[in-house]
Symmetry: C2
Subunit: 696 residues, 2 copies
């Protein structure tokens, strides 16, 4: 395992016709820390960051469940978004004490409550294992290579974790990371914290002022912040590598950085893969989930309690719908597809002009199209039964984890499905053991919905559909399964987990029985998918990645993979329909926009403090930072390494960032630190927290 | 006005590379009766139908609200689908007496109850007014021509209706009909019946066995039939031109005809118009309505009564979703779009090769693209505010009809919006005066949903959104409007209608107030749409239609426009994934497929009669007839002019029929007459009705 510094090298960003439309001046790119384009930063912005800066920022950046956060005090305080802790707030709420609605401020450190399923990872080192992996699969056919690749990565992870037990600061979590669509493979080593406690969250009505209507919009007025604290052995963690908040915030034009974990982009996909998303994946997902949105919204109209229990699911769903809706629009945009075709033709022409490269790349593009044809032929069975879209139920997901987890656990580590290798089991155990509220009515509603769509999409004569819905309607089956299953009880889950596959095999819990019955067919679909779709796709993608490296070097950045990246940009607005959108918003306008009704309702605490507030306080700000979902909660950092904002969203144009970076219009949106200070001081009277944030 | 026979001419179907993929042998085409390709029928199938046959079939075919039916006895009996009378059954139902669920059989003619909003039209004559209309708009600019065209058609309709009062069998309804996307204009003259009464409908569980999962599927087992009777002056109408049912049904390979009113196809659209549907219209519609589906399904889960009141709306919605979903798939199919591009390029090349034609056609294709750009720029305001997608409420629709109808009525007939010209007012008055059940909770749910989407699609800062949702949420506004409005009362509506625009102006009914407030903006959007989208589009479409006539003559058929058409084909199945799908299904299999739960629940009446039933009775059948929605309820007719089936659906491939006719896979689905007889005889013991159907 190489030390982090050993693999860090500073590359130069050169113009690349194939991947960045404009040379050099675009602030595009989600760079790994070991390939950060420091020279380009210098050339474009006259700014410099050194190795100490990079190390400090990296070690202060934490990966949360689906989000990013930053250490902001020496005692393990983590700053992130409110929407990144919504699940925790939901888990800690009751009918009588709705933390999502009311917010939370823990003034006594001893009273900070643990978020049952939250984790925080810090990247401490990484090793490039591309060559070792290539050696391990050399000469194998594509199916065998696909299996061997997984086995090898599992062994790399295992070796890394075992060695880490003897390392300073260890043990560490080790995870295989594939970059450039399989062009590079790394083992990333994380320090993991599993005891993360809630410190502060404002009311949802100010954190998400404007709700779904304003989501992905700018100008904006959201105090989308929250604060948690990492603990170890019951004590706050010492975090010397933290970032200070500069509450004055940045000025327009300032150079700013975002360090975080962008979740996923598809900028390196082939045209055929993009068309598959446009024609198959996105329409199917969007239509199913638009219906689910309708069901959940109507579910929440029954009464206040129904509204409360559905709100966290609904918020996530509406966000995903907006993202995918705009992704579909992006792929339906002829300009984008034309550009992708041109870029692909250009790369293929360069490959074709080089006999050796041509021979190495082979029929990669055609191979991908063939794999996609297989994928399409099994699309509904696979997504419904193996990806389990047909069983949209928390209890079902637990049942499957128990069945597969106990079965896989008994195999040698490198022979297991990858999600059940030793390195992943502690996280799974945490989730199975977590005591969190369960709402049977909601689980019945989502399961009934998904069973009904399974029947539509697989057809009423599909054998599994016939088996499940012979004497049952989707509603009656869902009701029986959820009402009779005991898997909502953490003790029952833990007992089954400890009892292993024999206990699971003997269980008569109806959800276990269902998941057990489905497992052979689902596993067969997965095996076929791995062998006939994934295996050829991986080989072809690796060949294309290799061809791209041969032509462009690492002057291109890898697609986002929810791993640590750093980018740079400046504070700026953009032009919309010819008019300037300013990069800062002010508090006064939030009050002007208030309608007195959700989601445009200013909470009572802010109304009560109104006369003390400086209405000119900057609220949100926009930058041209190249970020996507997963960057939520990332600090916006200035050249001095201070936090000058808290990323929480992008503008509507940023969603096309899944496929390309629109330099003219793609903007990221952050909470301005001045509004944090204004709120903490005058609204929440949280002087102790503010002092800690100010290093006092 | 020309007599029907005078304009009837028999043309020859010749091969046309641009519109029919295969020459001559395809049974493609929705032909008008005056351009029926009798020679092609003779050549392809050796069959002949004469003028008497055509006249009899035409006069026995009735147009219902959105469907087709046929006279099947001399006393005005109309045979159509169950799903074509669902709205009537819903209107005649109460919480205690659910006719949709239970079915209905009226044994005493005096007890037949009127369907409050049903009508039945018989086409008695038509006149080609293309040249007269061209003369009226000659030399005008495109906006002026668009206005003048509407005015002229209104005058033609008015003249026709006035003259018809003195004609034998009159008065008649006269309607302008545009064929070939404006390439031909006709005035169609209908005998209209407005007193249509319910005679027989089976239970929904047998009529729609398989429900939405089986909709557009085949093999199939649906007794999708119903019988109504037309009355005039309180007495059954004498209908000497009726069709006899041949209960033996057809054999595989038999030549069969479908006479009916296909609703709408888009086979003659330009590529740019198809792309607009693919990229904008269909995704927007589908996503909005998938959510609505979810809301309605969840609404119906509250209790049995909620399920009942939502069922008719839901059935229509689910049908529309399935249609549009498959239309989107068709447009995402590269083969289809490639074919459309090729056909268009071919036509444009032929036009370009002829100087005179080239000059007459001008920049028609580019003009359409320009009009589409304008349409796209105003898409959401237009669809939300003028097309009123934002106000999904029966009471809102009534309010708008009252406001606009009373205002327009005071203008000269030819200066009105076309939907309020004299010829249309009786139908509107029938609808306003109809006493039908109203369910406020359902109207609140649909209105709240649409207001919420309005805010999403127009944005929270749109002035109208701000105006409506400043101190209100979508829910609270919808509740107040629906609960406080009195427009659910037919007497209130009638009083406002009679009071005219001054009564409407003075009304404080909150729904009237809302619709009044919105009207100026909505009308302005409509005017802009008519002037800047419709006007140039019409001119360009007419030019393309003229070019197509010049190149291909009338060897092509016009797109469907919910006007009378006749086609021919044969009884046949098709190949699906290499396996033969047989053209007939049998009763036994319906029982085998029963699950005991809706929508696969065989009703108790059929279970009780099971031992008497001949399980080998043919149930449904498939043909290659070229039909679409609107043809529902059409008779399937043999060469002798006998009814040998009752069309009610197509297979899943038939949905792409909106854009092209897939001769290999597009199949229509009919109820076999044998199952009608089996059910009427043994299950429903409806001997008197059966006797009437048998002409006894």
């Amino acid at each position: 395992m190489a030390n982090w510094r050993a693999v860090l090298s500073v590359s130069v960003l050169v113009s690349s016709g194939a991947l960045v439309q404009k040379p050099l001046l675009a602030d595009e790119g989600m760079w790994t820390f070991d390939n950060f384009p420091a020279a380009a930063l210098k050339a474009q912005h006259g700014a410099t960051v050194d190795m100490a800066w990079l190390d400090r920022v990296r070690l202060a950046t934490v990966r949360l469940s689906g989000c990013t956060g930053s250490f902001v005090s020496k005692d393990g305080l983590i700053l992130t978004n409110h929407h990144c802790v919504a699940t925790c707030l939901d888990q800690l709420s009751t009918k009588e004490d709705n933390l999502l609605e009311k917010g939370v401020l823990v003034r006594d450190r001893g009273q900070e409550r643990r978020c049952p399923t939250q984790i925080a990872d810090v990247l401490v080192a990484s090793e490039n294992v591309t060559d070792k992996l290539s050696a391990a699969v050399k000469g194998l056919g594509e199916k065998a290579a696909n299996d061997a690749r997984k086995q090898t990565l599992t062994r790399f992870e295992q070796t890394c974790e075992e060695a880490s037990k003897r390392e300073r600061g260890g043990p560490f979590k080790c995870e295989a990371v594939s970059l450039y669509n399989g062009g590079q493979h790394f083992i990333y080593k994380y320090k993991r914290y599993t005891d993360i406690r809630m410190v502060f969250a404002p009311e949802a009505n100010i954190a998400a002022f404007g709700g779904d209507p304003d989501n992905f919009q700018y100008p904006r007025w959201c105090l989308d912040m929250s604060v948690m604290r990492a603990y170890e052995n019951g004590k706050p963690v010492a975090t010397p590598n933290y970032l200070k908040v500069n509450f004055a915030g940045p000025s327009a034009g300032d150079v700013v950085f975002v360090s975080g974990h962008p979740g996923s982009t598809d900028r390196l996909l082939t045209v055929s893969q993009l068309l598959e998303q446009r024609n198959v994946d996105l329409p199917d997902w969007l239509l199913r989930n638009s219906e689910l949105r309708g069901r959940l919204l109507q579910f929440g109209k029954a009464d206040a309690e129904a509204e409360r229990i559905v709100s966290d699911s609904l918020q996530g769903l509406e966000n995903s719908i907006k993202v995918r809706r705009k992704q579909l629009d992006a792929l339906l945009d002829d300009r984008l597809m034309e550009r992708k075709r041109t870029d692909e033709a250009d790369l293929r022409a360069r490959v074709g002009a080089n006999a050796e490269l041509k021979s190495r790349t082979g029929t990669a593009w055609a191979d991908i199209e063939r794999a996609l044809t297989v994928e399409r032929s099994m699309y509904f069975p696979y997504t419904q039964l193996e990806a389990a879209a047909a069983f949209n139920s928390r209890l079902f997901r637990m049942a499957r984890s128990l069945i597969r987890g106990t079965a896989e656990r008994e195999k040698p580590n490198d022979q297991r499905l990858r999600e059940y290798v030793d390195a992943r089991l502690p996280r799974l155990e945490q989730q199975l053991a977590a005591e969190v509220p369960f709402y049977p009515q909601l689980d019945i509603a989502t399961l009934a919905f998904s069973l009904e769509r399974m029947r539509e999409l697989l057809g009423p004569d599909h054998p599994t559909v016939r088996q499940l819905l012979t004497k049952d309607s989707p509603d009656s089956l869902a009701r029986r399964l959820i009402n009779e299953s005991k898997l909502h009880d953490a003790a029952v889950r833990t007992a089954l987990w400890k009892g292993g596959s024999s206990a699971v095999a003997k269980s008569t819990d109806p959800m276990i029985v269902l998941a057990r019955m489905l497992d052979p067919e689902a596993r067969a679909l997965r095996k076929r998918y791995e062998d006939e779709v994934e295996a050829p796709m991986n080989v072809a993608e690796e060949r294309i990645a290799a061809a791209r490296f041969a032509v462009f070097g690492t002057s291109v950045y890898p697609d986002a993979t929810f791993t640590l990246r750093l980018n740079f940009g400046t504070v700026q607005g953009w032009k919309e329909n010819g008019a300037d959108v300013q990069p800062f918003t002010r508090l006064s306008k939030a009050f002007e926009r208030s309608t007195g009704a959700e989601p445009f309702l200013i909470p009572a605490s802010w109304e009560a403090s109104k006369s003390q507030l400086d209405m000119n306080t900057p609220f949100n700000l926009s930058t041209n930072s190249d970020i996507v979902g997963g960057n939520s909660g990332s600090a916006l950092i200035n050249v001095k390494g201070e936090i000058v904002g808290l990323m929480f969203d992008g503008n509507i144009h940023s969603i096309s960032g899944a496929y390309w970076f629109d330099t003219e219009k793609n903007r990221a949106v952050a909470v301005h630190p001045a509004i944090m200070r204004e709120g903490l001081t005058k609204v929440y009277k949280a002087q102790a927290l503010l002092n800690e944030l100010q290093g006092k």
